[in-house]
């Protein structure tokens, strides 16, 4: 290390060092931890709750993809989670195809829906983007409410079967269903991870940090944001489909704005821009709500609201973000690395943000 303790100027080692080994280790570590946790989950908590956690986890990752890496907050993501849930449910009820197929159709439907909405939304950013997406989310809500032929309106769409190649254990027992459905969630999570760690993801991060400069470099900012939006909607759709099949019905709650709010809460709680923080937030919120529901406590909203306030006031980076920052600080002894979780919170393309600092070893590849 060449850094002098008193110097405020960042310098980076040029040759591979323990830092890059650590980086690679962590790159593998997070997916591994998440994967093992997913496998163990139904042994530790009640299987239907475990399935809920997995579905919400993927949903939170889809939000983080937009919020943490695209820098825009979608406040209407329930539209994709919910419309996919309805489409999945409708397909499963009416065609009797195995549930993974129904879920894929549902997710595709959500992506198709996201194209026109995204085209209109991505022209704005910040609070305007959040408001526009919220408005579209509410539109979907009222359409679902009125379209009672398909959605069942207020009563909901009942009797979604867990058709799975005639394997009765999966169709009847939530414990085995969990293992049949979890590959879908894992694939969705891996897709999110891959998107973030691709040249595309790095352009996205660049747009988050400095859209003008990315535009100046010749990237079509709107198109990148639109693609990210549609991909995110697809992930939300996958999660919504899993949720619908797991519960065996779809209700208006799935397209309600509170669902959009809940998933944002999970993402913020876990840590924006960490990708794996969302699942932690999802686990905490789902378990807490489940526990409070049967604990005879009469103010669930008060507790989740308080947690949110505490998180925003004390842990601005969320749970995982705080842990990562702590680990970073411990590792560098309070020097170096000013940003937490560098490996996960990807740097923008080198040419976008690099100014007068030396390149880090990743920065030599220009995004394609």
């Amino acid at each position: 290390m060449t850094t002098s303790p008193s110097s405020a100027v960042r310098t980076f080692p040029l040759a591979p060092t323990p830092r890059s080994r650590w980086r690679v280790a962590r790159l593998i570590m997070w997916p591994t931890i998440a994967f093992v946790a997913l496998l163990v989950l139904p042994w530790v908590v009640y299987p239907p709750i475990a399935m809920d956690i997995a579905a919400w986890a993927l949903f939170a990752m889809s939000i983080d993809l937009l919020l943490g890496f695209g820098g825009v907050l979608s406040f209407g993501h329930a539209a994709y989670w919910g419309s996919s849930a309805y489409l999945t449910g409708w397909v499963a009820v009416n065609t009797g195809v195995p549930f993974p197929v129904a879920i894929l159709i549902g997710a595709l439907g959500a992506m198709v829906l996201a194209v026109p909405i995204g085209m209109l939304s991505v022209r704005r950013s910040g609070i305007y983007f959040a408001m526009v997406t919220l408005a579209f989310g509410q539109m979907i809500y009222f359409i679902a409410n009125q379209l009672s032929v398909i959605t069942g309106g207020e009563n909901g769409l009942q009797g979604v079967p867990k058709t799975f190649f005639g394997i009765e254990a999966v169709e009847k027992e939530s414990f085995f269903f969990y293992y049949a459905a979890i590959p879908i969630v894992v694939l969705g999570a891996l897709a999110a991870w891959r998107i973030v760690h691709s040249p595309f993801g790095r352009v996205l991060s660049g747009i988050r940090d400095n859209p003008e400069r990315v535009r100046a470099l010749g990237y079509d900012v709107e198109r990148y944001k639109l693609i990210a939006f549609v991909l995110s909607a697809g992930l939300a759709g996958l999660a919504g489909g899993v949720y619908a099949v797991s519960h065996g019905f779809v209700s208006l709650q799935e397209v309600d704005w509170t669902t959009s709010g809940k998933v944002v809460l999970m993402t913020v709680l876990g840590g924006i821009g960490t990708l794996w923080g969302g699942p932690i937030g999802a686990a905490i919120i789902v378990l807490l709500e489940d526990y409070l529901a049967s604990a005879g406590f009469e103010g669930i909203g008060i507790v989740t609201g308080l947690i949110f306030i505490v998180c925003v006031v004390l842990f601005r980076k969320g749970i995982l973000g705080t842990i990562l920052a702590f680990v970073d600080r411990a590792r560098t002894g309070g020097r170096g690395m000013p940003r937490f979780g560098r490996a996960d919170r990807l740097a923008a393309p080198d040419s976008v943000t690099a100014t007068n600092t030396a390149h880090d070893e990743e920065g030599n590849h220009a995004p394609r």
């Binding site: 009563n155 519960h247 049967s294 005879g296 680990v327």
Partner: protein, 410 residues
């Protein structure tokens, strides 16, 4: 460093798991055996939201009274010697209701789930009951679907439904309220209520001048009130419930409509009258499934209830009492708490208690009983707290509910 992160994650997950308070794992072979010497009654309802007052924690009190009455009646001969109550909050969300119901049956050993207001939540629980083959008696929800297309052998619908609510309208027509304008929120419940009320009014010889759909939820009803008033009806029927109903009634009175047309409310609980004040509702007619001050038997129950809760029971509370009591009676007759044996005792049974007058369990598992056309008293006539209603007429059980639902196939 990795070694420090891993324990942290582990701690997060373990503490989260402890929060859950229940173990996971593959399904146990036996679950909770139905003949485990214990009857567990689960109450799943809204403990924190808009339906808290009309069901909520007080439903538990009603069930406790039912258990006390059952034990007093049978003493040492009681089959159900050890009765436990568990409760859960479904927050009016069907997905929460669904997982909570599964947990109640699977992990907390519930033999029966009671109450469950909110139609979508009730339908979600009915599905769980059918899958787990345990009883579910719905009291708090209104939907016809429970005993229609979504019916199943393990689900009973105890207190009321949308068509029964509409039967009161014919009583109003008989009392001179012949021309109606109906204002209804434009979603499944409101549309169902509009259809039921229109059929009931026309069946009794009245006319519906106009049915006006409003957005749901809605805050400002003034244009709809003006439009309804322009028709000059005898009666304006409002099918909104909860907060929308309160808003509507306030605006209706502010517009000075009380003198122009009588107000009929589709679904009203006595707690609605209590929270908004009897002045706001005076003269309003509605269908009531049960009223606490109807006779001595009801009053005695209401007094016990008042001592424990500082409130008079709604018909949903009385319905929960009745459902729990009749369930325990069925266990007594069957000699076991096995779900199928208890259902066999309930099916087709003629039941009598303070809630069920001329009660009968029909083949679609709708439990029919006498119901009442009620009118809210003028504020000047209110003698004591909760003395809000005057029963105009009784609708006999066979007329109060429409015929067995042909959409139901079990």
């Amino acid at each position: 460093m990795k070694s420090r992160t891993v324990p942290m994650i582990a701690v997060t997950f373990v503490s989260a798991a402890m929060l859950a308070g229940c173990a996971g794992g593959p399904p146990a072979q036996d679950g909770s055996a139905l003949s485990d010497g214990k009857v567990v009654i689960g109450i799943l309802n809204d403990q924190s939201g808009v339906y808290r007052d009309l069901s909520g924690p007080n439903s538990r009190v009603a069930v406790e009274l039912a258990i006390a009455d059952y034990e007093a009646k049978y003493g040492d001969e009681a089959v159900a010697t050890d009765i436990e109550i568990i409760t859960s909050d479904h927050q009016n969300k069907p997905d929460v209701a669904n997982t909570q119901a599964q947990q109640m049956y699977d992990r907390r050993g519930a033999d029966i789930i009671l109450d469950v207001p909110t139609s979508s939540a009730a339908l979600a629980v009915a599905e769980v009951a059918a899958a787990k083959k345990r009883l579910f008696i719905d009291v708090g929800a209104a939907t016809m679907e429970l005993t229609g297309a979504a019916c199943n052998p393990y689900t009973f619908h105890w207190a009321y439904n949308t068509e029964m609510l509409a039967k009161g309208a014919s009583g109003v027509v008989d009392n001179g309220g012949e021309s109606w304008v109906i204002i209804y929120p434009d979603y499944a419940f409101g549309q169902g209520m509009n259809a039921s009320f229109t059929a009931s009014i026309e069946g009794a010889g009245g006319t519906v001048l106009e049915s006006i759909a409003t957005p749901f939820p809605n805050d400002n009803f003034s244009t709809f009130i003006t439009r309804a008033a322009a028709q000059n009806p005898d009666v304006i029927g409002i099918m909104a419930a909860g907060g929308d109903l309160i808003n509507f009634v306030k605006q209706y009175n502010q517009a000075g409509m009380q003198d122009q047309a009588a107000l009929a409310v589709g679904l009203m609980f006595i707690t609605d009258i209590n929270s908004l004040g009897v002045e706001e509702f005076q003269g309003t007619t509605f269908t009531d499934a049960w009223y606490w001050d109807y006779d001595e038997q009801n009053r005695e129950f209401a007094d016990r209830f008042l001592q424990l809760t500082d409130a008079r029971p709604t018909f949903a509370h009385a319905g929960n009492y009745s459902a729990a009591f009749q369930y325990l009676e069925a266990i007594q007759r069957a000699g076991t708490d096995d779900a199928d044996a208890v259902i066999a005792e309930l099916e087709g049974a003629k039941l009598e208690d303070l809630f069920l007058r001329n009660g009968e369990v029909r083949s679609d598992h709708s439990v029919v009983h006498d119901s009442y056309v009620a009118r809210v008293k003028p504020a000047a006539d209110v003698a004591e707290a909760w003395d809000y209603e005057e029963i105009i007429s009784t609708i006999p059980a066979e007329e109060a509910f429409s015929p067995v639902n042909s959409a139901c196939t079990m």
